[in-house]
């Protein structure tokens, strides 16, 4: 698994993808966080990082699929998947290797935003007036969110050999799982089940983590999403055996 992981991750670093992803993410989040008056933290009055953690997921909905789309689609198109599958590797080695490489890249893109924390920490009045445990919880939350999106992206990429299709499907599924359940639960049709439907969505669990509340149920929820999605990927990858 480590071999696949390091090859994939090096692949990101050796191509432009990694730098474009990190650049686009930081530009978008940086503008939202510091420049655009509607969302900028400078005139906001509160020393917190809500802008990053509220808007980050929406940037991820487009950005994560852009990273994950090539994972399997490209290998299928180029035929290299046949090489990989005839090497002494378990299917899980390949899937986990690719998943983790994508996930790490997103984490690397998140890393520079720690500077935002420092900036707000210093600018706070009095200095240091920021809810540090809350920020830590939010970072853990967004990391889990990134993991879920990466797993969804990997799944989308395993369905098709066309990267554009993989990107669109992944974006759509990320959006659906993040906001879809929440929106559906507001319909009057099933008001009695609304909470249950809401809990199926990522937003519900992400929101509570964003507030710094680390509940094992939320963590289990995210891990289940990742596990379930990657398991479906394994079935699809093995479907050449049907």
């Amino acid at each position: 698994m480590l071999q696949v992981l390091s090859k994939e991750f090096n692949g990101f670093l050796n191509s432009l993808i990694a730098y474009i992803v990190i650049g686009v993410f930081l530009t978008a989040i940086g503008l939202l966080m510091w420049v655009f008056p509607d969302t900028a933290v400078l005139d906001y009055g509160y020393a917190d990082m809500d802008t990053l953690f509220l808007l980050g997921p929406y940037v991820f909905i487009f950005l994560v699929p852009a990273i994950t789309m090539r994972s399997f689609a490209e290998e299928k198109k180029a035929g290299t998947i046949e090489l990989l599958l005839t090497k002494p590797l378990d299917d899980w080695d390949i899937i986990l290797g690719k998943f983790l490489a994508n996930f790490f890249l997103v984490i690397v893109a998140l890393f520079p935003t720690l500077l935002y924390y420092y900036t707000i920490y210093v600018l706070g009045n009095p200095a240091g007036n920021i809810d540090t445990p809350g920020v830590i919880g939010s970072y853990i939350g967004i990391a889990f969110l990134a993991a879920a999106f990466c797993a969804i992206g990997i799944l989308a990429s395993s369905i098709t050999r066309n990267q554009i299709v993989a990107f669109l499907l992944a974006s759509f599924f990320c959006f659906l799982s993040f906001l879809g359940f929440d929106s559906v639960s507001t319909l009057n049709l099933w008001s009695s089940e609304a909470l249950f439907i809401k809990q199926l969505g990522i937003l519900y669990h992400y929101d509570s983590m964003r507030k710094g509340l680390l509940d094992t149920r939320d963590i289990i929820y995210f891990l289940s999403i990742v596990f379930l999605t990657l398991s479906i990927t394994k079935v699809i990858l093995g479907s050449r055996q049907w």
């Binding site: 071999q3 090859k7 692949g11 050796n14 191509s15 180029a78 035929g79 290299t80 046949e82 090489l83 599958l85 005839t86 090497k87 002494p88 590797l89 378990d90 050449r240 055996q241």
Partner: protein, 312 residues
């Protein structure tokens, strides 16, 4: 290490890609796997390398069943898939190191092995280039190198020479011949000459069924249908007399003073023709035996059964 297939069948939907084939390749044998496109060569090889499972039947590679012990099979097999897929954005050295790691090679051993295989496959001048910048011949070498990195006992090559120019063809054949010592090799091709150049046993497959499995010379003998000789005389000759020469079945007039003599193949008629020319006091300016070409036998083996089927 041997390679055995027992009643192997693979169906895609309603189509039988491979239909109950069996063969046994012994340790150290080099076998050519011959057949037209779509005959089931690649499917058979994909089964033997654990890429697709058989619908029914068994494949044993080096004593391991591909369905039960795929990891063991993969570890001892080197495989060059059709169309030679490669990670084009990697460097040659980087790619071979990656594949070596997948086979569990590490440290100094891995380094030594990569160097060895780069030398063996003649990749030394290209080893620091990106694979996408390499010519087709060199890419093929990289494909072979990745199949050989772990010194496999069994080598499965799917059309290793397709799409190469004549010079590259000769080089790659030489390379295959060199690396296949002390290995069990199954390679597919649709070029008969290749089989002749590389190995002595050939398995011919058509429409998912084995139509011949023998030494090449036996197949050649079995399908010897007579020989054709093209003769050209300087002047007019007596055609009836030419036709009545012993061993001559038929003559066809091609152009002035030039004939195609079809012999029954039992005796060499060329000396007779030579003597005949001097009897007629005409100079013989051309005498050429047309090989009962390998292509003809190939066509014979792979087209006729289909026609018989139609007649049925």
């Amino acid at each position: 290490m041997s390679l055995q297939l027992k009643n192997l069948t693979k169906t895609y939907g309603s189509q039988k890609a491979v239909n109950a084939i069996s063969f046994d390749i012994k340790e150290g044998e080099i076998v050519g796997f011959l057949g037209p496109n779509g005959a089931g060569k690649s499917t058979t090889m994909k089964i033997a390398t654990c890429y697709v499972p058989p619908t029914s039947g068994e494949a044993w590679v080096g004593g391991f069943n591909v369905a039960e012990k795929p990891m063991r099979v993969k570890q001892i097999t080197g495989y060059l898939p059709e169309h030679n897929p490669l990670y084009l954005d990697l460097y040659v050295h980087e790619y071979l190191t990656f594949v070596g790691k997948l086979y569990g090679l590490t440290g100094q051993k891995l380094k030594g092995r990569v160097k060895e295989i780069v030398d063996l496959c003649g990749l030394t001048p290209e080893q620091n280039k990106r694979i996408e910048t390499l010519s087709k011949g060199y890419r093929q070498r990289v494909g072979l190198a990745q199949a050989l990195i772990h010194d496999p006992k069994i080598l499965i090559l799917d059309e290793p020479t397709s799409g190469l120019d004549p010079n590259q063809l000769v080089e790659i054949r030489k390379l295959i011949k060199m690396i296949s010592q002390q290995k069990t090799v199954l390679f597919s091709t649709h070029i008969m000459q290749e089989v002749q150049a590389l190995c002595d046993r050939v398995i011919v497959i058509n429409k998912g069924k084995i139509v011949a499995d023998d030494k090449l010379e036996f197949i050649l003998k079995a399908h010897a249908t007579g020989s054709v000789i093209v003769v050209q005389f300087e002047g007019k000759i007596d055609e009836v007399k030419l036709k009545s020469l012993p061993g001559v079945k038929e003559i066809l007039t091609m152009e002035s003073f030039s004939y195609k003599v079809i012999a029954d193949g039992t005796v060499d008629v060329r000396p007779e023709i030579f003597r005949f020319a001097s009897e007629q006091s005409v100079s013989l300016i051309g005498l050429k035996q047309e090989e009962n070409s390998l292509e003809n036998i190939f066509r014979d083996l792979t087209i006729t059964p289909a026609m018989h089927e139609k007649e049925d």
